[in-house]
Symmetry: D5
Subunit: 96 residues, 10 copies
């Protein structure tokens, strides 16, 4: 099942640079894993903002929440979730 | 270049059913063509709403506007456009 | 899978009373069927507004959209959908 | 009487982990008690956010406020309350 | 139980004057009855707008909805409802 | 003259408990005085939020501002003011 | 007493030109009278919009509403009212 | 003096095509004149919407309003105006 | 040229009282000077809020920005600017 | 390709003056370079706010993001990006 997810990151200005760097590094590693597994199907940067637009392919809301809520940057992100379904005009096999 | 586009359709309640059906039919045909050509890269239905989330892969804003503004349903849609770029954590070759 | 759905009905003021009554009657019948089948798990009226708060228990976004988009009042409703999941503090067996 | 309540938790980033853990633990215990007593009738997690959607079954606004305002996380939550009533199309006996 | 209710009236511009006058007349009569019975406890005009701020004293959300949804102007009003309770600093006996 | 006033209190999370308690105590005493004098005509708690809905009966905007801006919690409140006038359908003598 | 008032005019597109002209003419005459009497103290056009910013000097909300609600364009205006009072840093005698 | 202006066009769906075409034609001619005279300094299409972003170079708000309010499409546009001034970091001579 | 300006002051809660007092004192002196010079034409307090509504009479956006951005409280204010022009129905000579 | 960009700067009130000055200085130098190279095509100050309206002329969203995300003030700015294209009524050769 597909979910459209927007994430905007807001790091506190007084977070030490090392802590921010460590968070971003583990976030990146986790993103790699989740893309490799197929759960994080698309990941794009929003031009000009510390934000992304993503599409997740998961078994349901439970798995989605488990993934999002354990991202290292989760406490610093504003997240909005929109459930998607196949569009009747779509011609792509896997845009389910 | 990738653009994230959200379209919400609002047909006037007094539009005759035949006109609405004709519009939707030509819209669908146009969507098929644009997906086949690669310009309309992703097309998903937003669950519970007469709306879609799309990703377009075009040469720039000029081509995007040419496409969107000539869609049969364009006069009846609220459209928002967000330019995307490659995310540094993306591992997909073509999520450029 | 559970979805939280808010629906607000906005009938055009110039809709003939018979048409409105017929729509509401078939909407009610459909709501009865969907509740009986278990898909429309909860249905509450929002006090003071022609609106409801509902919880749907469906296989996924596809089934949810199929249900919502075929409701007789769908063309006259503003709908917002929020995917739910089990709360770690819930003690009810079936609030999955 | 039923109330629809949405709660979003915003813990300050500089709250010590032990204090946050203690707050969450007492919050969970209180949620268990209130569900057991029947006052906190439904409790769902909103997918992707540190937030919940709940339905309370209480004697009135007074009891609702007494409950919400004494939750351990109350000072850190944005709360919105919507009074519900029985929907004329509901077929569930106890969705009063 | 007390509810704070804001109502904003939006009559269609093409409603015949006689129909508007008849609606307003029956609305006024209904408002008189409900004030006399004690259910419509306060009724104020918002300066400069075709809107009112009201406080209702009813048995619960069910009675409130029954009252509001049968007002003659209900189909033409945007209504927002806020449940109230006694303020700990109130000194008025009946501001329950 | 009547003013509808909504106040939402937002105390900084790092305010020492004694300071918060002292502020609330003087706020309560001031509220008692202003209710006794007739200036603070109604005071209700908004269910589920650290907020109130009030009606003030004062000589004008000058007196209203003098009262509100000297409340002990004023620096910590978001306040919105709406001027009221007698509703043509009101039957209460003193809902001027 | 001073009130800050913003008015935005929205004439229906299908209003006959003669009716619109007649409304605007009587609106202008009424504006002249109210400025001459001192009640409509300031009247400015908002650049680029069919809207104005005004300051009224009236005895209270009652008189303000009586004036605004009888303006010929009242049914076609979105109006917002803000009560003003003397600013402690003002040096103008009559900016009361 | 420079003003940043955003215009969004909303033609009524029932406007006859000839009337719409005539309006657009005279709008285009007027836009040409105003660009030639230097008053309409920049004019861009917003990608995906029937809207533009413009910069006007006029003697002041009076001239700006005179220009905007006499555009043929003015009754069908939502317009927002932002006054600009020279940016201290600008290196362009004429971005005054 | 006239500009309508709204300013809302938000002092950080942890600003030392002496610093706040000093800022307010120099702000008041600057306001006196600017009113005396004619640039700050009107200055009103918004009832119930630490905010003002003002009208400035300046040579253009450049002078307006120079004035506003050098106010002592500028870093602590949310400011919105609206350009005004003479209203065709105005009868005051100097409401230019 | 042209992008319309609005940037609003929000420096933390407790940032040391030297750090703020250093950031602004390098920001200014970077702005000079980018204007000189042609990428930052227009740069205007929004009157009364610590904000700018800009137009960038870049190869695409990738270059735009590379530029914006490396501005010294990027962590302290709220940025919104709108893709532009040539307006059919434009007569300027280079407003592409």
């Amino acid at each position: 099942m597909l979910f459209h997810v927007e994430m905007e990151v807001r790091l506190p200005h007084d977070m030490p640079a090392e802590k921010a760097d460590a968070l971003k590094k583990t976030e990146r590693e986790r993103a790699h894993e989740l893309q490799a597994s197929g759960a994080w199907r698309h990941l794009w940067r929003v031009a000009g903002r510390y934000a992304n637009v993503s599409v997740f392919d998961v078994s349901g809301a439970e798995e989605l929440h488990q993934i999002l809520s354990t991202l290292p940057l989760f406490p610093f992100m504003a997240i909005s979730v929109t459930p998607l379904c196949r569009h009747p005009s779509s011609i792509r096999e896997d845009d389910r």
